[in-house]
Symmetry: C3
Subunit: 131 residues, 3 copies
């Protein structure tokens, strides 16, 4: 298993982790299999989305904050239930197909770490299984 | 890896891809393992849901359109940020258990391609790992 | 494949299935691989979230019920379209990394069965693939 280190700098932040993930596959010479990407947190998840226009990231964050406001009236005393819900709506684990030494992604896709309760030091876990 | 081809005919459309997936497992004689199903798009995802009453599909689409309207006031100039968000809320990858030469699904389950910015020609990627 | 049995006692209920899953890995002596956890239902899913303060679970259920009410005006005659949507927003399958004979989870994480149309007798399917 590999552990990526991530430092978020805002409460909500979408961080592109595609380069670190591709590097992990390349440096290990993995060729054909499945990669599991896992967020070991409860207020930060993983998703895939467009990596071209940065407005897409802004729209995702703005939409989630509008619909799941921190001051919704939650019971949890830490005041971050919105972040727990946002992370579950995204996802905590994702599987990617590895072929020819790289994670296969669509033309516009990037792999995103979704911070909903930063800034914090975070990790993402990677595990590869060969065919 | 196998590539399924899909042609959507509406902006939002739920397309049952269970038969093609079962066929892929059967024709390759796969018996026991894990199948990863991956959408290489940013405005179309994958989910599982009820394959019996077509009203369930209609209700899912209607609900998502009501809560995530295309004219929400998004910044992304292409005007399809709603589709990016809907796809992330569903999912871009799914894992299924394969036993006895078929993908194991619950009685009412089907595997659905979730188009949110059609009509378009799309693909779905399949990768099988044996135990 | 292993089948866990679950009995929910409320319409919406978050049930911690972490102990049964850890037991499954331990009793089989699995050491390093990937575990797929799959919900074979259409109105109950799987997610990961905080296992410490029970208010987090209450906040998740209350939020989903507020935003996706059963009386939204759905077409599906069984009257449980809200449950179908909630399950798709969570997830039906999850992948976990197994190392040193256990499922690796973050400090605060638990694996939750998400019942949205109980009370019912349910199952969760587990499949392990070794590296």
């Amino acid at each position: 298993m590999e552990i990526l280190k991530i430092s978020s700098r805002q409460r909500e932040q979408i961080i592109d982790i595609t380069p670190q993930i591709q590097q992990y596959i390349a440096k290990n010479g993995y060729s054909s299999g499945i990669l599991t990407v896992f967020s070991p947190h409860t207020t930060a998840g993983i998703t895939v989305n467009e990596n071209a226009d940065p407005d897409v990231k802004k729209d995702i964050i703005a939409f989630l904050n509008k619909k799941i406001p921190q001051d919704f009236g939650f019971a949890h005393i830490e005041g971050n239930s919105d972040a727990h819900i946002k992370a579950s709506l995204m996802n905590f684990s994702y599987n990617f197909i590895v072929e020819n030494g790289q994670v296969l992604l669509g033309t516009w896709q990037g792999i995103f770490f979704m911070e909903f309760d930063g800034p914090r030091n975070r990790t993402v876990w990677l595990k590869y299984i060969s065919v």
